[in-house]
């Protein structure tokens, strides 16, 4: 056992004294080490920002279970924050990472999550420059929660957002949807699968590849909580334009479909943590598809829909079903509970 990493966390590990220092210096710092974090001072003083507009985002991570096929809460907490910046067209630079740990949480679990965070930061090319650790009494938390804030910069020539969406825009997905959500639901409901795993990944590289390919990208969103249904509804709300999707074109893995069938879930409402949805100019659909597919994280990319004018009283998001009918896709009311009916 590494020095400073306990078998099980004590309240004292969050008290700011010797045990806290041992934990931070013995476990967190070696994993996330960089010049800004190393002093462990009250605030990280950073260099001047590159040219462009700063972008800031924050996310909390409470996923249960904290370790799942294909990832950990630690890995997810870095990717999620990085991806929010990437969706705004920002180059992610620096992240904070605050942990709320539960008394009694296994040290091994903490270490696995820290390793996940380190790996994600490395993949994403970002640095974790500030952190915090608190320990709450047993029963007042759920092993590990994380909160991460990310700072990035949107280069001067870039303007990505729903305000740029236009009628005729082509909607693409960078790969099969719902892998993360299906994996978590499978864990929670004792469904085994050899191949099903979270798609959690940092998307900065994929976004840069898309943007540098000359495609006129109007907007980007990652379909996390609430899945494709949520991001298209939000996009429709902000843009005032209809999102028209084709069920036959939406990539879904067979295992994800199977989990959804068994539990009575809609795969389009499940989270992906390593996919993006892109809205590109009308004539750039094929070029965007090629650009995505040329990147390792975009191999399964597909055109999934089109933006249209919204008729008065019409549904903001509409799905052409696999048998040629249509149905509206509205925001899920209530949590994603398995049905028996």
């Amino acid at each position: 056992m590494r020095p400073g990493l306990p078998d099980h966390l004590l309240l004292a590990h969050g008290a700011g004294g010797r045990l806290t220092r041992e934990l931070v210096e013995g476990t967190f710092l070696p994993a996330l080490d960089n010049q800004f974090l190393r002093p462990l001072s009250d605030a990280a003083v950073l260099p001047e920002l590159p040219a462009g507009r700063p972008a800031l985002t924050t996310d909390a991570f409470v996923v249960d279970p904290p370790i799942f096929p294909g990832g950990t809460l630690g890995h997810l907490s870095i990717c999620g924050t990085v991806n929010d910046l990437s969706m705004a067209g920002a180059r992610p630079l620096w992240l904070t990472w605050a942990l709320i740990l539960e008394e009694g949480a296994p040290g091994e679990l903490i270490r696995t999550c820290v390793d996940g965070a380190r790996q994600a930061a490395c993949e994403a090319g970002v640095q974790v420059v500030a952190g915090d650790t608190k320990v709450v009494p047993r029963g007042k938390g759920d092993r590990i929660y994380a909160v991460s804030t990310g700072l990035g910069v949107v280069p001067p020539d870039r303007d990505i957002g729903d305000h740029r969406m236009q009628e005729g825009d082509v909607i693409l997905a960078s790969g099969p949807l719902g892998d993360h959500g299906a994996t978590i639901m499978a864990c929670r409901h004792d469904l085994g699968s050899e191949t099903l795993q979270s798609d959690c990944a940092p998307l900065a590289g994929l976004v840069e590849a898309l943007l540098s390919s000359g495609v006129d990208v109007h907007s980007l969103h990652d379909p996390t909580r609430g899945g494709l249904v949520a991001v298209t509804n939000e996009a429709a709300g902000r843009s005032g334009l209809r999102q028209s999707l084709d069920e036959r074109s939406i990539p879904l893995r067979a295992e994800v479909r199977a989990v959804c069938e068994v539990l009575g879930l809609d795969p389009l409402g499940l989270a992906s943590e390593g996919r993006l949805i892109a809205w590109v100019a009308q004539d750039h659909g094929t070029r965007a598809l090629d650009a995505l597919r040329a990147h390792p994280l975009g191999l399964g990319a597909a055109i999934v829909g089109r933006v249209e004018a919204l008729p008065a009283g019409g549904s903001p998001v509409i799905l052409t079903t696999s048998v040629g009918g249509t149905r509206p896709l509205d925001l899920l009311s209530g949590s994603d509970l398995p049905r028996i009916c």
Binding site: S193, A258, V262, G264, R339, I340
Partner: protein, 75 residues
């Protein structure tokens, strides 16, 4: 009212069975279908196997429906 999914019975141990669909496995009770055989496709509802899907009948249904589709094409 009754979400029941056909899944293949892979193994059984007395009245417990492991069923699978597209690589996704779950453990279910065979209390309501005690004669279920490994290899059969079972309808699973609320954690129990409630019936078996007859592969031959399934094939016959498909034929019937193909007939409808072909008849339309012939027009």
């Amino acid at each position: 009212m009754c979400l029941a999914i056909p899944m293949e019975l892979k193994t059984r141990d007395e009245l417990e069975g492991v069923v699978e669909l597209d690589g996704v496995r779950r453990t279910v009770s065979l209390m309501l279908l005690p004669d279920a055989e490994v290899g059969q496709h079972l309808l699973i509802h609320a954690g129990y196997a409630i019936g078996a899907v007859d592969a031959e009948e399934a094939a016959r249904t498909l034929e019937l429906l193909r007939e409808y589709a072909d008849a339309m094409e012939a027009l």
